[in-house]
Amino acid sequence: MYTLAAAMSVSTEHYDCESCGAGLVVSDVQRSLVCPYCASPSVIHREPEKDRPSPDFVIPFVIEDKTASEKVKAFLRSKYFAPSSLKEAKLDNIRGIYLPSYLYTACADSEYRAEIGEEYLDEEKYQARDQNGKFVTKTRTVVRTEWYTLKGRHSMYLKDIVVSASAGLPNHELEAVEPFDLRFIRRYAPAIISGWIAEEASLSKAESKSSAHEESMAEIGTTLNRFLPGDKHRNLSYSTDLRSETVALCLLPLWVFAVRYHPKKPPLRLIVNGQTGEAGGHVPTSWVKVLILLSVLIGIGLLAYFWSTQ
């Protein structure tokens, strides 16, 4: 099951359903709910607080639940060593969730240093036997590399760093289904989340910043690796000053599946990007399958050895 802000102490609030007047008990991390008596979808508005900002943006769902289920099945099929019980498990617990995330921007000024390899052709003498079996000296052309140390400065904007703002779904799980296409981002409007599960940010901006910095440094590294000249390079190191940082809260569409594949094990959580259909999640390995494969391989090896000695 997807637990709302599992790690947090959750308090509750009381509201009356606007449609039927029934009393509703709502946890303070929920942003939307469906009245259990009249099925009316409601959206809750809270005044922003320091650790709980109001959403700035939302990316609406594009993928339907049926498509999301197919994506998860295809994802599980591609995992050869997943337990068979998991591949055959029924996908009946599907929920569409708007996950709070922080959209981080910054200016990154980096100082880098790397060794740049420039190739050139050189002639090399070597000894070889001729037709009569005598040693003779021959020459051949070889590619050599000379290394230069290059230092420099590089500036760029980081625009599209997205990290989870939910204690219920850690950032590395979200990374598995990224990226989201931020061109289709919309200003937050309650109508977009009406009827869906939406959560308040349960991690503060400060708590999410380390994840944002990690992703930023990785992006800068990728950029610098493509930026360097030469035929090849090695030992790239860089230090970066991140300035003018901004953080906005964005609700991301996720299909969340809780798959029960073993009576004694907790259900497995798989997620699908509700905009692009990318599926992800940590799939357990069936050691029985690994063992069978290993024994088959060893068997083939033994047979081959046996035949070769005959």
């Binding site: 509201y15 606007e18 508005h45 809270r46 921007t105 200016c107 420039e118 009406s194 000249p229």
Partner: protein, 316 residues
């Protein structure tokens, strides 16, 4: 016009932008409607509660099926904001054309002036973007400077560039060569607002959406920065693997209409087109007939000369 600007990089932002297109910073929301603590969103049609429907990509009522419109992601066509005045009169343009035709040199047919008939002459305004920007440019490249065994050695640098009043054509009617001839001679300081344009003026429309226009401008800045770095920054005479990253600031763009005369003339049944600057009468770009008889004559004389030279050399 009082254009809104990004708080961080000071680039212009449009009212519909959610984030700055250059640095990604969130634009401030203009007005936030007060909201109740808990709200059921209702169908405008029947009053039942609505929820967001994926298939229709909009909030949809489960009872009557009607959908509620959301604020659209806006990507409008570019519109001309300002224009430059037409300072050359039709009579001046006619005269300038005749002078141009007369001064076309040796290869023009001898009867060009007598046989040419001016079919059409009319002013129009073609459109383009004029932008200003600052760029922090980081670059790396290999060049032959300081090279040892290999032909190449690596270089790097960082430099600030200003781009002031750079013109990019949005015209589909004018060729790139024609624009290159005309563009440097417009007086951008004499920009007027659109309302003052003559009533019968023909203005070419922008046929580009905002997002495509921005990509085009950013692409142009990138190309210009690469050319400048190649020419001014990288040491040595041969360059390869040039990498240029621009970090833009204070990008602002104006959508401007530029006056030009389009002339069509006929010489011996064939139609030729000429464009004449609307602010400086002696700037003209166009095609003109060539006397093939003269070309042939010169070519044969040249060949003859070469032949004689060759013969003379062989005798030495």
């Amino acid at each position: 016009m009082n254009q809104q600007r990004c708080e961080q990089c000071f680039s212009e932002i449009e009212a519909e932008d959610l984030r700055c297109v250059i640095c990604g910073v969130v634009t401030p929301e203009t007005e936030k409607p007060p909201r109740p603590a808990i709200e059921v969103l209702r169908c405008d049609n029947c009053g039942a509660a609505v929820s967001y429907d994926v298939k229709h990509a909009a909030p949809r009522c489960g009872f009557c099926g009607s959908t509620t419109k959301l604020e659209e992601i806006s990507d409008p066509l570019e519109q001309t904001e300002k224009y430059l005045s037409l300072d050359v009169t039709t009579e001046d343009a006619r005269q300038a054309f005749k002078t141009w035709l007369g001064g076309k040199g040796f290869f023009a047919p001898s009867d060009l002036l007598e046989q040419t008939k001016l079919e059409k002459i009319h002013p129009l305004w073609w459109t383009g973007w004029v932008f200003d920007a600052k760029a922090q440019v980081s670059w790396t490249a290999d060049s032959n400077a300081n090279a040892r065994e290999s032909d190449w050695a690596p270089h790097s640098g960082q430099v600030s560039y200003n781009f002031d009043n750079v013109l990019i054509s949005a015209s589909r009617g004018l060729s790139d060569a024609e624009v290159q001839t005309l563009a440097p001679h417009y007086r951008l300081e004499a920009i007027q607002s659109k309302e003052e344009l003559p009533n019968d003026a023909i203005i070419e429309q922008f046929e580009t959406q905002r997002s495509a226009a921005r990509s085009k401008i950013i692409h142009n800045i990138q190309t210009m920065a690469e050319a400048r770095v190649h020419q001014d920054e990288v040491p040595g005479s041969r360059v390869r693997n040039l990498h240029v990253h621009c970090c833009l600031e204070a990008l602002s763009t104006e959508r401007i209409a530029f006056p030009v005369y389009i002339l069509a003339y006929r010489y011996r049944e064939e139609l030729y087109r000429v464009v004449l600057h609307g602010q400086k009468r002696d700037v003209i770009a166009g095609r003109m007939p060539i006397s093939w008889a003269k070309v042939l004559l010169v070519a044969s004389l040249l060949l003859l000369g070469l032949g004689i030279l060759g013969y003379w050399l062989s005798l030495q």
